[in-house]
C-alpha cells in the first residue's frame, strides 16, 4: 500500500492512501497530538469529508486496537504451520516484578522454552527484542511456544 505524506506547514502532516475498495482516505496528524480521519467523497476531488477526530490518548488506543492483534495474528499464522506451537499476548502490568527490568532478566526462554518474539509498546513494535530491552508497564509481549510454555511465561511476568 502506498502512503503519501503531505506536509502541512505549521499544522502537522497528512498521510493519504487509497484502500482496497478504492476509497481515498487521509489521516491528518496535527502537531498538538490530535488526529483527524477524513475521506474524499469524490464529488469535489479536493474536498475532504471529516469522519472522526481523536486526541492523542484516543489515537493511542485506536493504534493499539488496530496494531497489537495484527502482530499477534501474523505470528499466529506462522504457528499454524507448526503443530503444537501457539502465539499469545502477555501484558506487563504495573505490578509485575519485571516492569522496569531488562527482558533478559526474566530468563523466559531458559525457564519455559517459549520465546518472546516481539514487544508491542504503544504504537511501536520492537521485534525481535534484545535481552537488554527494558520492559515497561503496559508493554504487550508476543510469546510463541507450547500452551504450557506460554502459561509459564505469563506466570513469570505477572509474578
Amino acid at each position: 500500500m502506498d502512503v503519501t505524506e503531505v506536509l502541512l506547514p505549521g499544522v502537522g502532516l497528512r498521510y493519504e492512501f487509497t484502500n482496497h475498495e478504492g476509497e481515498r482516505i487521509a489521516v491528518v496528524a496535527e502537531r498538538t497530538g490530535d488526529f483527524e480521519l477524513v475521506v474524499y467523497t469524490g464529488r469535489d476531488p479536493d474536498e475532504s469529508r471529516p469522519v472522526v477526530r481523536f486526541n492523542s490518548e484516543e489515537a493511542d488506543a485506536v493504534a493499539e486496537i488496530l496494531g497489537a492483534p495484527r502482530i499477534a495474528e501474523r505470528f499466529a499464522d506462522l504457528t499454524k504451520e507448526v503443530p503444537g506451537l501457539l502465539a499469545a499476548q502477555v501484558e506487563v502490568r504495573s505490578a509485575s516484578p519485571y516492569a522496569g527490568e531488562p527482558l533478559g532478566r526474566t530468563r523466559a526462554r531458559t525457564r519455559t522454552g517459549a520465546s518472546i518474539v516481539a514487544i508491542v509498546r504503544g504504537e511501536d513494535v520492537i521485534a525481535p527484542p534484545m535481552p537488554d530491552e527494558v520492559l515497561q508497564a503496559g508493554d504487550v509481549l508476543v510469546v510463541i511456544g507450547t500452551r504450557e510454555g506460554i502459561a509459564d511465561v505469563d506466570e513469570i511476568i505477572q509474578g
Binding site: P9, G10, V11, E16, V38, D44, D46, E47
Partner: protein, 393 residues
Amino acid sequence: MHTPAALLLELGLILTALSVLGGVARRLSLSPIPLYLLAGLAVGEGGVAPVPAAGEFVETGAAIGVVLLLLTLGLQFSLPEFTAGLRQHMPSAVVDLVLNAAPGAVTGWLLGFDGLGILALAGATYVSSSGIIARLLADLRRLGNRETPAILSVLVMEDIVMAAYLPLLAVLAAGGPWWQALLGTVAAVGAVLAAFTASYRWGHHLGRLLSHPDAEQLLLRVLGLTLIVAALAEVVHASAAVGAFLVGLSLTGETADRARAVLSPLRDLFAAIFFLGIGLSVDPEELVPFLPAACGLAAVTAVTKVVTGRYAASRDRVGRRGQLRAGTALIARGEFSLVIIGLVGTMHGGLAPLVTAYVFVLAVVGPLLTHLAGALPRGPDRAAAETVRPPHP
C-alpha cells in the same frame, strides 16, 4: 501593598466583555480580532466607556502581546517545512508579494504618506493573518483538503518575509541617517540568519538549557529569555518583536512544542490586550474619514489575495472549487498588519486609523467569504475537475 481596586475592576470588566465578544465570534466561526478592536475603540479616548485606570496596563500588556505573538510564530516555524514550501511555492510567494503589497503602496502614495508610511501600508496589505487562517482551516475542518498545503505554504513564506521586513521597518521608524538604517537592517537580517544557523546546529543545546520537565520552569525560562532578548533588540532599534521572533526560531523540536503549549494561554490573553490596545490608540473620530479608503483597499486586496490563492492552489493541481476556497481563505488580515502599525507608531497621521479599519473589514469579511466559497454548490466544475486532474499520486 496597595491594591488598585479601580484597575482590577476595569480590567475585569474588559476581560469579561472580551470573553463575551470572543464567544459570540467563535460561535459564528469568525475571528474575535475585529470585536477586540471594536472594544478597544469603545473604551478608548472619545469612546463610549473610557477606562482611565486600566490604560497604562493595557499599554504594557500590548507590548508583551506583540512579543508573545512573534515568539509563538517563531516557535512554530520549521526549516524543513519552509524549504519544502519554497521548492513548490516560490512563484506563489512572489505573486503574493507583488499583487498584495502593490495596492497598499499605491494607496499610501495617493494619500500622501512618506516613504515609511508607504512601506508600512504595503506590508499591512501584503501579510495575511496566519493566526486567523490556521484557526479558520481547523474550525472549518479543511485540514484534509487538497488546497490546504498551498495555503499554509504561502503563510509560512509570508512569515519569513516578515522576519526581514519588520526589522527594516523598525530601523527606519527609529529615524536617523540612511546608513544607520542600512546598517541596522543588515544587522537585523544577519541576526535572523544567525538564529537560523544556530537553531539548526546548536538548537538542541539551547533547548536543553531551557527545557525542564516542570511546565512552570519552562514557562519562566522561555519567557525570561525572550523578554531579555526583546529588550536588547529594542535598545538597538531592531524592535522587541524581532528579538522575540529570533528566540522562537532558535528553539526547535520538543522544547519548542512544549514551550508553545505552555505559552499559548498567555499568548491568547496578551494578544487580546494588544488588539484592544490598538483599538484604544485610535480615536473613533479620526477613523471615520478613512473608512471609504479602507473599504476600497480591502475590496482590492481581497481580490488580489483570491488571485494569489487560486494561483498557489493551481500549482498543486487543485480543481476550481478548491482554488476558490484557497483564495478566499487567504483574505483575512489580522495580527501582523496591526503589529506593523504598532511598530511605526502613531506618528503617521492616518496610518493607524486606516489600517485598523482595513483589518477590521477583512478580518470579518475574509472568514465569511471562505465560508461561502466552501458552501458553493458542486456544479459542472466536478466533471471538469475530474477529467483535468491526473489521479493523485
